[in-house]
Amino acid sequence: MITPENLVYEKTSVMTDRVLHYCPGCGHGTAHRILAEVIGELGIQGDTIGVAPVGCSVLAYYYFDVDMQEAAHGRAPAVATGIKRVLPEKYVFTYQGDGDLAAIGTAETIHACNRGESILIVFINNGIYGMTGGQMAPTTLAGMKSSTSPRGRDVATMGNPLKITELVAQLPGTYFVTRQAVHAPANVRKAKRALKKALEYQKLNKGTCFVEIVSNCPSGWKMTPVQSNKWMEENMFPFYPLGDIKVPPEKQ
């Protein structure tokens, strides 16, 4: 029986009680939870405005119990810019997938980061369009199969996977850029610390914080959750290495 004395885990009140629509084993649920926990721990639930993307996390506002706006595909950083410019005291974050952020929304992403908008961009990179059924994404690995690269991504005709996180780290407008994962407990803790830092930094108004979470897509990759995590470690992490890419100058 659960009593206050033996309680080891409690769902954060920043997440609603709605049942997540994500596929079994998908990283979105964990990523949602740690971001919600951080918002709760920082005590900023009433001062946070989120922007949901188009993609698997289009319904993120069902799960985060904060005020949120649903953006058009790829436009979340522009919508977040509009929010932050009129409500500079609020904490503003976007939560976007790879197709949303690194394909159709590349311009909005680069320019929001280049202006140094004081927002948090959470970037879930699973190398595939999950919502529309497993098509090739800008971050799909070379040779990786998808429904629109059925013989594997041919970089000669389809281009190379885009390391947009390294790209935004080059911009003077970004303040903190990191790549994390949420497939194992140690990674979950690190990713949560990164999100917490990123939101704390927002108070400083020193630039955009960008947290990539390399994640899996068991349904799109046509694997079991366990297989997908193993495949991610063996194939995604060598190309998308985990760790901080840009840390604030005063923290170096």
Binding site: I49, V79, A107
Partner: protein, 349 residues
């Protein structure tokens, strides 16, 4: 003042909270004026040059979703890029003001003035069943006054409003009386994302409904709102219609030229009037239908290939002949041409 600059000053004075734009001829003076004037010091109004028209309209979405007076301006090719955002703004029922200083198309077309975006403004342009409230100024004074009116209507109906101007009005210098500085909004709208209140549900700004039954309810609500707009917000002016045997229909700068043609016709003893819609949506269909009982024929004059003429014909519903005269591609009709068209197509037709 120059039309574009007067409009920019009007935005500050109307108490706008934010302007997001991208340069394009013939309306770049709007953002240039705002950047020069730096209204953040005067009123706290934010001004930002976006990376694209797409980004600009989505910044408007974000700010409008916070219940702020947000606006953007552009010209035809840029307005095409904004259509995605406008559909989302209409779907999410957010208020905003968009100014289109129309130039001739299609494509890059020319930077010269035109009215060829009538269909895009009035019939849709973006996807889905939605309507913009469309205001059509004929003078610099009206384009100034419509900034304030536009924000009022946008918030009254929580709907995007477009000022459909053109390169003539944007670029010409005219005397203008500017209204006094209005305060910025100090209202916390319950539909705005301002941060969740402890005792309330979180606010969600969205145009997404996964269930068809829910989406139909949204559409029905939007349609009911549009019927209210049609009932309450029709604006137009008539000139010389009391004894008119013939009627001109024209809007915007073209209506001014047509009015000159009307005066020339009356000097020759031709009893012709002019109806000038000030709102293109809602369209003054009843007024035109009423005049159709009185006149023998109507000539619609536009700087395009014939767009508003379709709405005039729908309003007239076959009672009298409705003909069209227009110049396009940036060409401006002369009063002589218009009078000749009246004589040939309506009186002699």
């Amino acid at each position: 003042m120059k039309g574009n600059e007067a409009l920019a000053e009007a935005a500050i004075r109307a108490g706008a909270d934010a302007y997001f734009g991208y340069p394009i001829t013939p309306q770049s003076e709007v953002i240039e004026y705002l950047m020069r004037e730096n209204p953040v010091d005067r009123t706290g109004m934010q001004v930002l040059q976006a990376e694209s028209e797409i980004a600009a309209i989505n910044m408007v979405y974000g700010a409008a979703g916070c219940g702020k007076r947000a606006m953007t301006s552009s010209s035809s090719p840029g307005i095409s890029l904004k259509m995605e955002g406008l559909s989302y703004i209409a779907g999410a029922e957010l208020p905003c003001l968009v100014v289109n200083v129309v130039r001739a198309g299609p494509g890059l077309g020319t930077i010269q003035p035109s009215q060829s975006d009538y269909f895009q403004a009035v019939k849709g342009g973006g996807h889905g069943d939605y309507k913009l409230i469309v205001l059509a100024p004929a003078t610099v004074q009206e384009s100034v006054d419509y900034v304030r009116l536009g924000f009022e209507l946008a918030f009254k109906y929580r709907n995007p409003v477009m000022i459909l101007s053109d390169g003539i009005i944007g670029q010409m210098m005219e005397k203008v009386e500017l209204f006094e500085q209005q305060p910025r909004l100090d209202v916390e709208f319950e539909w705005a994302t301002l941060g969740k209140k402890p005792d309330k549900d979180s606010v969600i700004v969205t145009s997404l409904q996964l269930q068809s039954e829910e989406q139909e309810k949204v559409n029905l609500r939007l349609q009911a709102k549009y019927r209210e707009v049609e009932k309450n917000e029709v604006r137009y002016e008539t000139y010389g219609c009391e004894d008119a045997e013939y009627l001109f229909a024209a809007y915007g700068s073209c209506a001014r030229i047509t009015r000159k043609a009307m005066e020339m016709a009356r000097a020759r003893g031709i009893k012709v009037g002019l109806l000038r819609p000030q709102t293109l949506y809602p369209f003054p269909a009843d007024a035109i239908n009423g005049l159709a009982d009185q006149v023998k024929g109507i000539l619609t004059v536009e700087m395009n290939a014939g767009q508003m003429v379709e709405d005039v014909r729908l309003a007239v519903n076959g009672k009298v002949p409705v003909k069209f005269y227009g110049r396009f591609g940036g060409m401006i009709p002369s009063p002589d041409e218009i009078l000749e068209a009246l004589e040939q197509k309506i009186i002699g037709g």
